[in-house]
């Protein structure tokens, strides 16, 4: 069920608050994300995102992009230029494509955001060649888009559940796929970070009411 909310309430300041809060959340969770990556990857996902979101927060502290789209594309570019690894281009593309889809509207609503995020997620799928069930960030991002059609809380819940549901899967993309069956039994770090970012989105929306 969709909550009550201002129709086009999400302005550039909202997105800046969201991404800045993401930076704080990543600082908090970096060690955990790196530990998850140590189990089935190369033990850098936390520090990768830390580096990236610090750059995002810095950039948004200096520039003050006027529109949601500009905030997201700036943030996406920062991630691409500072993260490296698989998650840099993927998360960078996610934010840039989402931003592009929002165009230059000064403020957007939840439904528009869900629509734009859907395009961002599709771009991630195309770039990385993964699909849901491959045990990647996509496993959390796709349900998040669907959930966002309902509510922020639904998006957050769906992403968190989906991240946990990666545990029993065998990875078919990214480094974890090298492990074959040994990738089973570990939660995917990228799906976990995706759920974190969507969770922070819900909190930011909640706080803004």
């Amino acid at each position: 069920m969709a909550e009550q909310e201002p129709g086009t309430g999400l302005d550039a300041a909202f997105f800046t608050r969201w991404l800045t809060a993401c930076a704080a959340a990543v600082e908090r969770e970096a060690a955990h994300l790196t530990d998850l990556d140590a189990a089935i990857g190369d033990a850098d996902h936390g520090s990768n995102l830390q580096r990236g979101f610090r750059a995002v927060a810095d950039a948004l502290g200096k520039d003050e992009p006027a529109t949601p789209g500009a905030v997201l594309t700036l943030a996406g570019r920062q991630l691409i230029s500072t993260v490296g690894g698989a998650s840099g281009p993927l998360y960078g593309t996610l934010l840039r494509r989402t931003g592009k889809a929002l165009g230059d509207a000064p403020a957007v609503g939840r439904a528009e955001l869900a629509e734009a995020l859907g395009q961002g997620v599709a771009a991630v799928a195309q770039l990385g060649g993964a699909k849901a069930g491959d045990k990647t960030m996509l496993d959390a991002l796709e349900p998040a888009v669907t959930g966002l059609g309902q509510s922020y809380a639904d998006a957050a819940r769906a992403a968190a559940d989906a991240a946990e549901a990666t545990t029993p899967l065998q990875a078919r993309k990214g480094r974890a796929s090298y492990l074959g069956e040994r990738s089973i039994g570990h939660q995917d770090p990228g799906a976990t970070s995706a759920a974190l970012l969507i969770g922070v989105l819900a909190e930011t929306a909640e706080a803004g009411r």
Binding site: T34, D42, D44, I80, V83, G84, G85, R172, G174
Partner: protein, 328 residues
């Protein structure tokens, strides 16, 4: 660890590299290592890069006869497109740039983005993907074979081809040919500790080993009770030969992962040579040492590259880099 803080490990290393190798021009801030005399007129340029922690790969292979520039990422993390574009611009003489990319999702995505951006700037770019690790099944259910030891062969042989004045498409096709003729298999006797994590990335008890590891501290395909050097050579060389099925002579790289003493590595080489002889494979050249490493990991990998006379001549051609150096 012999570091200050994890955050500055790569920058510190680049400063130290700059001080040790006056023939290299090191841009510490932008993380690009370039041979000082680049661009070399009329010569195709070679750019590679990848996560740090595999030294001397790639920076140690920059110089006449091999790479024109290297882009070091964070430890075990692909560099970002900005670095590769900057490197390409610094070394392109107008004859084009070959990107040598190890097959990891991160490296592939970042180099792809960089290629697009460099082409926007009017630089002609070709790419060679290195994917030689037979421990990974090359199927739709994986990210494909990893790029490991064969990177050295691709960089050396394509580098010699570029030095010989061959055009971009020829250098590219030699790079692909070398990759297609190369296979690797690696073994870990200890896990690796990254500066960011500060402790071993996985738990490998004394008396056990991991078969089929990569170079990023990830666990291998299988864990076993400790094997002898002889048994490991049988297993690793066997895995490589079963896949490569060489008919001609090979160049052998017996590579240390970083933490294995050279004394042990030479002993392992004796076993590698034994297996090759038993299997009737003739060995044209052998290189033993720590070349494609994984920080402090103990272990080794074997890479074989099947060569014809032309490739062998490219191998023997002069090279003058910090880590590989011969000829005049």
């Amino acid at each position: 660890m012999l570091i200050n803080v994890a955050e500055t490990v790569v920058a510190d290393a680049l400063r130290g590299m700059a001080a040790a190798h006056p023939a290299l021009s090191v841009d510490v801030e932008n993380r690009v290592v370039v041979r000082r005399d680049a661009p070399v007129a009329g010569k195709v340029a070679l750019v590679s890069g990848g996560g740090s922690g595999h030294e001397p790969l790639h920076g140690g292979f920059v110089g006449p006869g091999m790479l024109s520039a290297a882009c070091p990422g964070e430890v075990f993390t692909s560099p970002v497109p900005d670095q590769m574009v900057r490197a390409a611009a610094a070394v392109d003489s107008g004859s084009g740039v070959l990107f040598i990319v190890k097959n990891y999702t991160g490296d592939v995505l970042n180099f792809d983005m960089a290629a697009e951006l460099a082409e926007d700037e009017g630089i002609q770019v070709a790419k060679v993907l290195v994917n030689d690790d037979v421990a990974v099944t090359d199927s739709l259910f994986t990210a494909g074979r990893r790029g490991t030891g064969a990177t050295l062969f691709v960089e050396k042989l394509a580098g010699a081809a570029a030095d010989a004045g061959m055009p971009l498409e020829r250098v590219e096709s030699i790079g692909r040919q070398v990759n297609a003729a190369s296979r690797s298999f690696g073994v870990a006797l200890t896990a690796v500790s990254t500066p960011a994590k500060g402790s071993p990335t996985f738990d490998l008890p004394e008396g056990e080993l991991e078969l089929g590891i990569g170079i990023h501290g990830e666990p291998g395909r299988e864990r076993r009770a400790m094997m002898t050097s002889r048994e490991i050579a049988d297993f690793a060389v066997g895995a490589v030969l079963d896949d490569l099925k060489p008919r001609g002579p090979v160049i052998a790289l017996v590579n240390g992962m970083g933490g294995t003493p050279l004394l042990e590595l030479y002993g392992f080489n004796a076993e590698v040579q034994r297996v090759l002889e038993e299997r009737g494979v003739s060995v044209a050249r052998t290189l033993v040492g720590n070349y494609v490493t994984s920080l402090d990991m103990a272990g080794c990998s074997v890479t074989l590259c099947e060569v014809d006379e032309d490739l062998l001549a490219l191998w023997d051609a002069p090279v003058a880099t910090p880590a590989l150096r011969w000829g005049r």
